[in-house]
Symmetry: C2
Subunit: 117 residues, 2 copies
C-alpha cells in the first residue's frame, strides 16, 4: 500500500487525523487515494505536513491565512488589486503606525503577546 494511512500519518506528523482531513479540505495537502477511497500519505505529503505545522506555529499564522495566500498566488488579478490598494497608503507613510495592524492580527491568538511578556 505504498505510504501511510491517515492515522499513521497523524502519528508521524503531529496532526490529528481530523485535522488531516480538514487540511485536505482547505486544499493545502491532498494525499492520493486507494481504489477504495483510503487516503495514502507519501513522503512528500508527510514532509509538507510537518513543515506546515512549523510554519503555522513559528509565525502564528492561521491555516486560512495560508489558504488565502495560495489564492493570492493563483489569482494575480486579486493580488495586484490588493497590493495596489495597500501601496496607496505609502502616500503618507509617516502616518502608518506599524503596531496597528500588528496588534489587530495578533489578537487572533494572543500567544505572541503572552510570549513577548
Amino acid at each position: 500500500m505504498q505510504g501511510l494511512t491517515i492515522n499513521e500519518a497523524a502519528g508521524t506528523t503531529g496532526w490529528s487525523a481530523r485535522m488531516l482531513r480538514y487540511i485536505e479540505q482547505s486544499g493545502l495537502v491532498s494525499p492520493e487515494r486507494t481504489a477504495g477511497g483510503y487516503r495514502i500519505y507519501g513522503a512528500a505529503e508527510l514532509q509538507r505536513l510537518r513543515t506546515l505545522k512549523e510554519l503555522l506555529e513559528s509565525f502564528d499564522v492561521a491555516l486560512s491565512d495560508v489558504a488565502f495566500t495560495a489564492r493570492l498566488a493563483a489569482d494575480p488579478r486579486l493580488q495586484s488589486a490588493i497590493e495596489q490598494w495597500l501601496s496607496a497608503t505609502a502616500e503618507r507613510p509617516e502616518d502608518v503606525d506599524p503596531g496597528d495592524w500588528l496588534r489587530f492580527e495578533q489578537r487572533k491568538h494572543e500567544r505572541l503577546l503572552l510570549d513577548a511578556a
Copy 2:
C-alpha cells in the same frame, strides 16, 4: 474642521460609522483626530474607504484578508516562508485541483457560488 466627521464620512462612503471605527482598528484606514479626539476624514481617506469597499465586494475578500496581506507585505520573512511552502506544491503541479482551495475560500460567504448559479 477641514474634513468630514465619522457620520458624514459614513454617508459618502457607504460604510457604517461602526465599520469605520472597526476598519481603523484593523489599521487599514486611520483618519486624523481633532484635539478633542473626533475622527476627521480627509479626501484621501474617503477615497481609500470607497476603493476598499469596491475591492472587498468585487473579489469577495474579507477585511481580515486585506489586513493579513498588509502583514505579509510588511514582514518579508513571513512572506517568503509561506511562498516557499506553497511553491513546494509545484513539485507535483498536475495533482493540484484549482477548484479545491477555491471552494474552501468561497465557503466563507457563499455569495460567489450563488452568483454562479
